[in-house]
């Protein structure tokens, strides 16, 4: 039986005290333990940012890669070995900014992985510039006159691209988040969990208390997760009431399921047949 403690590691955590990331980290460990997924069966892939440091702070296999590029790396790893259980930790800047194109395409491919976007609505690691999810008007050192672009709505975009598992969590609701992560990992296909995460250092608006007052669980309102139009409408809800939980869920064949060529087993475990190649080499 895997326990939460199995994921504890001695490497120093480098987040600010009070950061919402701690809640996400705990929920991850809880979810992994609940799924009986030991560290050695777990591959965490991340980009660059505070969120993307997450894999360093628990025991697991990990690839902490480049800003914005976690998803194509994860996709490649799946091509090599689709038996891997992959969780991606990304930030709002990492995933929706630099990595925006990959976000869309991982969804289109329906790569079987779980994407946790630590959405603090700010670039944390680079000291507080606006991110794609920053609200218009947000003032930062880089945006002294306030953000002027519309904020990026990850749930709406994911839904419009046909994502099969679209959810929002909140780092301050560990119980729900743990459930969402479990469900995301169990979901066969691409699972997006956008997580409202307070940044105590650079986001003075969307604080823990701010969210606490606004979030509600879709489950408690009997939301049907198979209604795409409803999910889309809900994805635009933001303000006094912020829905959390699973917006939409539908399983369709995953990327690697549709890759006919690897149905016999992961490509990594197939054997190479020199004769076939020699035939090609001699035939011309």
């Amino acid at each position: 039986m895997v326990t939460v403690q199995d994921f504890d590691c001695t490497y120093e955590n480098k987040w600010c005290p009070g950061c919402g990331n701690f809640g996400i980290l705990s929920s991850m460990k809880e979810a992994f333990a609940a799924l009986d997924l030991p560290p050695e069966k777990l591959l965490l892939i991340s980009g660059i940012g505070q969120a993307a440091k997450t894999p360093h702070f628990l025991r697991c296999n990990l690839l902490h890669s480049l800003h914005g590029r976690a998803l194509p790396i994860a996709t490649g790893a799946k091509m090599a070995n689709h038996d891997l259980t992959i969780v991606v930790n990304s930030g709002d800047g990492d995933c929706y900014g630099e990595g925006g194109n990959h976000f869309m395409n991982a969804i289109r491919r329906n790569v079987d992985l779980t994407l946790l976007v630590h959405n603090n609505k700010v670039y944390g690691l680079t000291k507080g510039q606006a991110s794609p999810t920053s609200d218009p008007g947000t003032v930062t050192k880089a945006q002294p006159h306030g953000v002027i672009a519309e904020s990026f709505n990850p749930l709406a975009v994911a839904l419009s691209l046909g994502a099969g598992f679209v959810a929002r969590g909140f780092s301050g609701d560990g119980e729900q988040l743990t459930r969402l992560i479990q469900a995301g990992i169990r979901h066969k296909g691409f699972a997006l969990i956008d997580i409202a995460q307070p940044c105590v250092s650079f986001n003075r608006v969307n604080t823990h208390a701010w969210y606490k007052k606004r979030v509600y669980d879709l489950e408690t309102e009997n939301h049907q997760t198979d209604d795409l139009q409803k999910a889309l409408a809900l994805s635009f809800q933001w303000g006094d009431r912020i829905p959390t939980g699973i917006f939409f869920r539908k399983e369709t064949p995953t990327f690697t399921e549709r890759l006919g060529i690897i149905q016999d087993g992961p490509i990594i475990s197939r054997t190479h047949d020199p004769q076939k190649l020699q035939d090609l080499l001699s035939a011309r």
């Binding site: 660059i48 990990l62 690839l63 890669s65 090599a80 070995n81 990959h102 060529i261 080499l281």
Partner: protein, 564 residues
């Protein structure tokens, strides 16, 4: 006397030039002749100017020839455009209803094709007519047609057989000057273009995942691999962009399979950051950069050797990498297979510098290409560790090469980071770790250097050496021969293994000559700069071509003469 003729099939994009060319190549190959063919086309799908230029000889040829013995013009404007390239006794065959005159043979391709059963067989008519002019037996083409269409439908085969014959018979007794002896002979080797050679080399290197974004002239490598995915354990994925492509390849390699991407300059730019990631995480990858003229979009379907210094220095900061540039399809096969071996052995990125000439040209490789029976892997696992739970992905040792385990493949946890790190893979900003890791990565260099082959010298001890790399090989060697015929002491040096730079070997070779000239498909003599940087030796002149077209031996010889 040696036969050495050049046929140019010219017309618009979309007219099926390639098909005529393929038939001719196959026939000549089957007849035991040698050939070298280049493909010249514009960045458009229909119209314009396009040609396939095949040189056929009874001696090995690895370079194109600018003088044309037979121009097959699929339309009038191509005839006008290339007529001036004809040799004195050259012939033009043109698709007009009738009216032979002078050196002009009217071949009513479409009419004959319709007679044979369909306009679609016009290219077969042209091929048949060419063979007629060459005095070839029609039988070989018939065999090829049977191979190609036999399984599809009897009607199609019949139509093509008839078309070939109609074309063949149409030219009657007209022959053009260069006479081959069409004695039944076995093929001299295998017919191969560079794209296929790289693709097959990848399979020989046990490549299992490729990701790419379409970009000329690299696309052919990938579409050929895609066509083989039923037969080999291989995934070929078209990515959303080149950044995704290189990172998919890194992910696949990290997970444990050998992986490659192929692109051209603009795409390579976008991949540079990823190449740095492969380097610092010590994840083996193979990247093919099939060069074309730039900057930016440049000439998308043309050839160049303008990226040498770029790929050697690409990506921020410093790290060991291999840069290899094959000169012929046979070299491309071997170098690509070797690239995967080297990448995995040293856990570094390997860049293969190809170009449009290499990728899109066909020639005959006499050397037989071998599929390796076994693949040496450089992977460790729990069973080879004393204590898997203490596994450190970046354990320091004198070779700089840390035993590489795979993620989720046992108790050993694999941690990799694009940030500088400790031996266990966790981020570190400590001065000591930084120095340790830079030194560790650099420690691979002596062994990597020892893998570098010495440049290939043709006519050692010549007073003058022509030095080139990559696809310049054939034309340069032939140019040296031309100059030797003039009584000059000229040899050539061909470099495929460019980085880490084999400075000692190059110095030794260049010290033997009085003067050396670099011959390159760029405008600043990049290999020349590199040689000077690495050996201190300055070239005595550079023959440079940067018009997007492949080198001809003649023009190299002419370029050298100017310095003499």
């Amino acid at each position: 006397m040696a036969v050495d003729i050049t046929i140019k099939i010219a017309g618009e994009a979309g007219q099926g030039i390639q098909t005529v060319g393929d038939f001719l190549s196959l026939v000549c190959h089957k007849a035991g002749l040698y050939l070298m063919a280049i493909n010249d086309f514009e960045s458009r799908i229909r119209g314009g100017y396009s040609f396939f230029q095949i040189r056929v000889s009874d001696r090995p040829v690895f370079a194109p020839c600018p003088k044309v013995n037979l121009l097959v013009a699929l339309n009038q404007k191509s005839c006008d455009a290339y007529e001036h390239e004809l040799t004195g006794d050259g012939l033009i065959m043109i698709d007009i209803p009738d009216g032979n005159s002078g050196n002009r043979i009217a071949l009513p391709m479409k009419a004959l094709a319709e007679k044979a059963g369909g306009k679609i067989s016009a290219n077969t008519v042209a091929a048949g007519a060419c063979l007629g002019l060459m005095g070839a037996p029609i039988g070989i083409l018939e065999e090829i047609l049977k191979d190609q269409f036999g399984e599809k439908s009897e009607d199609v085969l019949a139509m093509n057989l008839s078309a070939a014959k109609l074309g063949f018979e149409h030219v009657g007794d007209i022959r053009f000057s260069g006479k081959f002896e069409w004695k039944p002979e076995t093929p001299k080797g295998i017919l191969m273009d560079g794209s296929k050679a790289i693709a097959l080399g990848a399979l020989a290197g046990d490549c299992r995942v490729t990701a790419f974004y379409p970009m000329s002239p690299a696309t052919g490598i990938m579409t050929y691999l895609a066509s083989l995915t039923d037969d080999f354990p291989l995934v070929v994925e078209q990515a959303e962009d080149e950044i995704a492509a290189v990172n998919m390849v890194i992910g696949a390699s990290f997970a444990g399979v050998r992986a490659m991407t192929a692109t051209s300059g603009g795409g390579f730019c976008l991949m540079t950051e990823g190449i740095g990631l492969a380097a610092i995480t010590e994840t083996p990858i193979v990247v093919v950069n099939a060069q074309r003229p730039g900057p930016a979009t440049g000439l998308p379907t043309r050839t160049a050797q303008g990226d040498l210094m770029f790929v050697i220095n690409a990506a921020q900061d410093e790290f060991p990498r291999f840069v290899l540039a094959p000169g012929t399809p046979a070299e491309a096969f071997e170098i690509t297979a070797r690239a995967f071996h080297l990448a995995e052995k040293y856990q570094v990125p390997v860049i293969i510098l190809a170009d449009q000439t290499l990728c899109d040209s066909i020639c005959i490789s006499e050397k037989s290409l071998k599929a390796p029976q076994t693949i040496e892997r450089f992977i460790t696992d729990d069973s080879r560790m004393e204590s898997p739970s203490e596994y450190n992905r970046y354990a320091v040792n004198p070779s700089g090469i840390s035993p590489r385990a795979l993620p989720c493949n046992g108790k050993a946890l694999v941690l990799a980071s694009g940030n500088e790190h400790e031996e266990d893979g966790h981020i570190s900003e400590a001065i000591s770790d930084r120095i340790l890791m830079v030194d560790k990565r650099k420690a691979k260099l002596p062994a990597m250097l020892s893998e570098m082959g010495s440049p290939e010298i043709d006519h050692e001890k010549s007073e003058i050496l022509l030095v080139g790399w990559g696809s310049g090989k054939g034309p340069i060697q032939e140019a040296a021969g031309l100059l030797r015929k003039e009584g000059l002491s000229v040899g050539s040096v061909h470099m495929t293994d460019l980085w880490p730079f084999p400075a000692d070997a190059v110095t030794r070779i260049l010290e033997t000559c009085k003067r050396f000239f670099v011959v390159e498909g760029n405008s600043t003599a990049q290999l020349g700069r590199l040689i000077r940087e690495q050996t201190g030796m300055a070239h005595h002149g550079a023959v440079l071509k940067y018009d997007g077209r492949p080198f001809f031996p003649d023009e190299i010889a002419e370029g050298v003469r100017k310095y003499l």
